[in-house]
Point group: C2
Chain length 146, copies 2
């Protein structure tokens, strides 16, 4: 035998690789369908938070998405430059930066919703299969984060 091999380190048996593949496949589908809107996948996640909350500090967004300011700050600057988002220091506490939606940012909602539906169709799963898988994954994440 040329190399040490055990089933335990077989690529196809790694949950991590299954997750990695699936996550990248979904992101690739989003990339395709979000192309005309001009959003990256991570920018899409940020927009989701804003459509849900209306407004959010960088810190709240960081907690919600599990991304830090090193990722969010430049990303938000790009969204601001494209006119989708506003960034301003809070008057009460000048440490925090509040992010809001512009009219143009709100208008992006519809085409993005259409993109999301195309991705959902690409998965080939029924909405109940999808919901079950989603639940299992959140359970796993919740467990691992503690």
């Amino acid at each position: 035998m040329k190399t040490p091999v055990s089933d335990e380190l077989s690529l196809d048996e790694q949950l991590c690789f299954a997750l990695y593949r699936a996550s990248q496949a979904i992101v690739a589908s989003y990339r395709e369908h979000l192309a005309e809107v001009g959003l990256t996948y991570t920018q899409y996640l940020v927009m989701l938070v804003l459509w849900e909350s209306g407004t959010s500090s960088v810190g709240q967004m960081s907690t919600r998405l599990g991304l830090d300011s090193g990722t969010l700050t430049p990303l938000l600057k790009r969204l601001e430059q494209r006119g989708l988002v506003t960034r301003e220091r809070a008057a009460k506490d000048e440490r925090v930066v509040q992010i809001g939606l512009t009219r143009s940012g709100r208008a992006t909602y519809e085409p993005v919703l259409a993109a999301r539906r195309k991705v959902a169709a690409d998965t080939g799963l029924t909405s109940s299969e999808l919901a079950r898988l989603r639940g299992e994954l959140h359970r796993l994440s919740d467990h691992m984060e503690h």
Copy 2:
């Protein structure tokens, strides 16, 4: 209502986000446990391929992992520099670059196996739950890649 909202674009209901979170949680666990070995998560995947195959061209590795030369070439150079891997043009066809394991690369197998077991324990799933989830995810990926 301040912003357009529908359950359909609620962050927590997106399968993509559940996948994204879970994948990052697993990778974070690997990062922690692979730290002493000095491998990144993607480098770990590359080593898995080599432990399985003994040797692999860049192209084969690309197909296997779904990563292109833009990712693999610099990563493999780093592994070569660290003495874990060999890179050489094939004599038969000088377009292809063959990647192999050094003695040191083979020796990394054991500590990495230990790391993998710690990650598996972190998931809190039994190996059968884990296998089932893995299967569902591969089914999803297979479907989306065609």
